[in-house]
Amino acid sequence: MADEKKKPIFRKINATGPCKKIMADHFYELDEAAKSGSRKIAWCTSVGPAELLRAMGFLVYFPENHGAILGATRVALDTIPIANAAGYSPEICSYLTSDVGAYMKGETPLSLAYEGITEVPKPDVLVYNTNQCRDVKDWFMWYSRELDVPCIGIESFCNIEISREPHIAAVSRQLQDLVPALEKISGEKFDLDRFKEVVGLSRRCSDLWEETLQMGAAVPSPLTFFDSTILMGPAVVARGTQEANDFYELLIPELKQRVKDGVAAVDGEKHRIYWDGMPIWGKLRDLSTTFLSLQTCVVASTYCNSWVFSDLDPANPFDSMAKAYTDLFIVRSDSAKEEYILEMAKIFKIDGFLFHDAKTCPSNSNNRYGMPERLAAKFGVPSVTIAGDLNDLRLYSEEQSITQIEAFVEQLGEK
């Protein structure tokens, strides 16, 4: 008698192929450089000064991206406990613990995806920006001690309404201060024109990525948050390169065509949800299937929007970079975040919010200071909060979370 639910259809985006190619090229290029010593390698935090590093001739590797891969492949489950046992608490960033644990174990999921790569590319310098959290610095410091590599960076502000001149000046000065140290490591002289060029490319990438995400405003949406977590790869690891921009120039027409043809990422889209907080990397596929079968599209997210840096301006590279990396969502106060989320709700025609309370990432868990309650009281937009984590699946109760999601969708349907 059981009701015959139609199997949900995953509608693959064709540009996923070229996206994978960019990721592969990125890792092979780094691997080659690490093996041959042909280029210097800088490790950079995800919203760190990648443009400056690129302009100074470094190849840039992002440990957080590696963290996400550890999560998505669930290798993290084996590596987090190793870092825990070495004194890195299960309560701190599970990107940090999964990555450090993997290093201690001598393992990387890159070797599963990319033949010939056996380890992560060794850095010549580690460059952080604490704009997102303190954990990134603690993470890089571990490698600095382990590999005897210099660790330099920017101490940023947090919890600000919006950046003011003193914030920008302080960050811009710190950026400029990095230059002599980086010149020493790279052996290359800083070239302002090259820097401007990279900032220009990065700005273009940001604009293209923003345009991609905006496609989700169409009803029905041609893409989901789960698609975007994959499609964002080039904007994360290759911003500031022409290749990343070429990729989005290819992707956008495909999505535009979908919008034109009324092709939905989620067949029979009934509800539209905004995802706030980190992805649950090891459960992306399962969650995506759950939403698909509930005919509910997660159309937008704070997470994917975090790689939009509209303030970058090649004419004024240091200050504009300082502004772009200080006015990020994650750096802002709760009231600024609330305003932003509401704006998104309007643009993307959202029925409800899903807050992911990621145990080990307080900076990206925006439910913790009463925001869902304020959104409901002031604007009548309902929300659901699920407890989980980005990488540590020991902290995620699947049964309960799926029930909450189903109940939330039922509630939206009863409105």
Binding site: M1, D3, L395, Y396, E399, A407, E410, Q411
Partner: protein
Amino acid sequence: MADKLYVGVDVGSSATKVVIVNGKGTVLGKALEQSGMDFVAASKTALERAVNDAGASIDDVAHITSSGYGRKNVEFANDTKTEIACHARGAYQHFREAMTIVDIGGQDNKIIKIGADGNRLDFKMNRKCAAGTGAFLEEIARRMNVDMSEMDALARKSEEIVTISSFCTVFAATEILSLIRQGAQTRDIAKGAFRSVVKRVIEMDSLAGKAVATGGVVSHNPIVLELMAESIGHEVLTPPEPQFSGALGAALYAVDEARQ
């Protein structure tokens, strides 16, 4: 011709409940089985017993809606609804007004807010752990060598306040060992355990307005209602058979679904 039967099956983590209603939503029969390890078997047995209780035949069943933790295991159900929806529906059937429902189950707690016309406004579930659930009480009873069925009566004899402050069930059990070492009475610890459940519940969400409690824990231990009322400063009501509230809600959904 016999009444058509609409069935709600609520497979909870500890008990499986079945309620059968007619097309008007009147309860005709019900049954409860321990869920055990085999949800399918438990729900089948409960269904058969409920059909007997209704004095009807399985052939008269028109629609079955399953709910609860094991809802997707009930192969013979026509559709599923979450326990959140069903608890809201079941409680509204009795009270018919805006309220906050607190369901204390074997392994999780829910707080559901519904509006005057029964529509759901918001809900919360406890975090992953057993704090404040039936499982917590069972563990405490086991530590004290007291049968769970005696906990309510035992707690009512308490004369002194004993506080169990730990969130964690395992830590709470350790706390209890030290309380016993300090000479605390089991009756006071029993009451302390109920108070701890209430504390865990009221910190989940506000219980302003009309408050209704459902679920197995409340059904077997009405002291929880009293302690909760004491804590929030106003009465906490419960429907006639609080443990069947979710299954009733599922049965009412079955009526709607069959009509569509």
